[in-house]
């Protein structure tokens, strides 16, 4: 029997029983579609987190006051009180060769008032270095001016959202707003950037760090964000930071330095594990689809008993019948897989429509793997029914009972 005839015969056999064929295709499509879509979701989550981190800036290090360590043993001679990070610490860090920019951050919350309108927002005190570190862009005006960070000037930069809330469509540049009872001149508006690690950069007001410290009546910093000169100098920068702080804090290691890379790597690992898990769940659904194919093919063998008997009577040897049934499974699972791919593409399209910020992407390996596995599943689970069909005795198969 010619290969083309085998294919055609199997195809006709599949199309000859539409209900059965539809069931198999559905099972296969859902199985393959689930594998692709679920891995795409996992991959999307990974990319989403990666993107969030890079939108923070690159080669960043974050210095947080306090240090997590196990204490105990012999009681310390002196009490252990973590020192606050100060503006002077931040300025001292800037003198290191491996560090390009340093942005001290003081954070608090205060109402921003313009005319009758008032809005309670996050107030971030920082310096002009923040602009480059966080890769901010301006919608209007300019960012905080360079100058001595220890001197607070009464200027502020508003986030996009608060500007809209307070000023609507009118330009706020040059207007004076009251923040926590002090007057600040608006010099710029940030371009919308979206969320970044939970901090909405639209609903924020940025003022010079010294002004913020005065406003919140504190000399400590929330944290210091630093940018290393390059990716390679990140570890160097970390050592330098620890050393500088230790020197300044009388030998105490009382800060924690988080590097962005380490954070990113951790998330990457988590999401790879997540993608694999989700892929595993999807693989189970594929196996279920395979078993469904086996069931339906088994029923098909019983249904077509007399056809198989006839094929034998007109001279079809065992392995030819095996081939016919296997090629039918292969055709069904191939078409089913293709439908599954379409289903997955449609699913990602819908997802992108509904959540444009969540980059659901189908990794190419998932596409080919799911289609391949779908085909293999169909063949593997098709073997048993095909063998059953081939092993039928012609007399038995032909009998009407």
């Amino acid at each position: 029997m010619k290969a083309i005839d085998t294919l055609q015969f199997s195809f006709r056999a599949a199309s000859g029983y539409p209900a059965r064929t539809f069931l198999i295709l559905l099972a296969m499509a859902i199985g393959v579609g689930a594998v692709i879509l679920l891995t795409a979701l996992g991959e999307g989550a990974r990319r989403y987190v990666t993107r969030e981190f890079t939108s923070l800036g690159t080669h960043l290090l974050i210095v947080i006051p306090g240090r997590s360590e196990t204490t105990g043993g012999p009681p310390p001679l002196l009490g252990e009180t973590p020192r606050d990070l100060t503006l002077e610490d931040a300025l001292a860090l800037k003198r290191n060769a491996s560090i390009r920019r340093v942005a001290p951050i003081a954070l608090g919350s205060a109402p921003v008032v313009w005319k009758q309108l008032s809005r309670e927002v996050t107030i971030m005190g920082s310096t002009e270095a923040l602009y480059g570190i966080r890769q901010l862009t301006m919608a209007q005006g300019r960012f905080l001016p360079p100058g001595n960070p220890s001197r607070g000037t009464a200027v502020c930069v508003l986030g996009y959202k608060i500007k809209n809330e307070l000023f609507g469509n009118t330009s706020p540049l040059g207007e004076r707003v009251r923040i926590g009872g002090r007057r600040f001149r608006v010099i710029g508006v940030l371009a919308p950037k979206g969320q970044s690690l939970g901090l909405d950069m639209g609903d924020i007001a940025i003022i010079p760090v010294a002004s913020a410290q005065a406003l919140f009546n504190t000399s400590s910093l929330f944290r210091i964000i630093l940018q290393a000169t390059g990716r390679d100098s990140v570890p160097q920068a970390k050592d330098a930071i620890l050393k500088t702080i230790r020197d300044r804090h009388e030998g105490e290691d009382d800060v924690t330095v988080i590097t962005q890379d380490a954070l990113l790597k951790t998330f990457d690992r988590i999401f790879t594990a997540l993608t694999l898990t989700v892929g595993g769940i999807a693989a189970i659904s594929l196996a279920v689809a395979g078993i469904l194919i086996m069931n339906v093919m088994m029923i098909s063998v019983s249904q077509r008993k007399s056809e198989i008997g006839l094929l034998k009577a007109i001279g079809s040897p065992r392995n030819q019948i095996l081939r016919l049934f296997l090629s039918e499974s292969a055709i069904l699972s191939l078409i089913g897989s293709l439908f599954g791919v379409l289903l997955a593409l449609f699913g990602t399209w819908v997802s992108l429509r509904l959540y444009p910020n969540f980059p659901v992407t189908i990794p190419w390996w998932a596409l080919s793997a799911a289609t391949g596995v779908g085909l293999i599943t169909g063949l593997v689970f098709g073997v048993l029914p095909a063998r059953k069909a081939a092993a039928l005795e012609p007399v038995e198969a032909l009998s009407r009972r």
């Binding site: 000859g16 007109i314 001279g315 040897p317 392995n319 030819q320």
Partner: protein, 226 residues
Amino acid sequence: MIELTGIERRFQVGGETVHALQDLDLTVPSGEYLSVMGPSGSGKSTLLNIIGLLDRPDDGVYLLDQVNTTELNDSQQASVRRHRIGFVFQFFHLVPRLTAAENIELPLILTGIDPGERKKRLNLALASLGIADRARHRPDQLSGGQRQRVAIARATIMQPNIILADEPTGNLDRASGKEVIDILEHLNSEGKILIMVTHDPEIGQRAARRIQMLDGRIGSDSEIST
């Protein structure tokens, strides 16, 4: 030439062993027209199935043109069925999803013959059986007589020299039954062996040689008795 010697076929029914065929000897020379009659369960169909290599005897030797068929493996037996034997069934056994033409073409496809050659043989068969206008119809759109003619076309398209018919008129009215018998007898007149199992004495009497089966043995054989 068909030579059966000492053929035994036993079935297990419940706890009992039923002898469908017992120590059966039969020789059918080329070109013979043989009818097999007998009551239900006398082993007529089993005999036909064994001759058609659809069933294997438990004992005995079956020589087909001096070849011992019981020693052939599955694919060799399949090849014998394909090239040497044409089967006509009571229930036609057409594939319901295929058209008449596709049903007839099936043995050619299974053998792997080129489409051009297939087309030629198919048209010839359709014309000689008078069903050319029914070629595109599916079995459920055909009358019983037409279905059996399609089945005969399928049985003969590989040019076998043995035609085995198991109650070929059992599901047909008299008129179409007569037509089918005429076609089969015409094939016999071309030199093919025709072995027909039938209940109908009127049809059975037409054969040159008549066998009466009884409890798995040959009860009477017109050739030997005359």
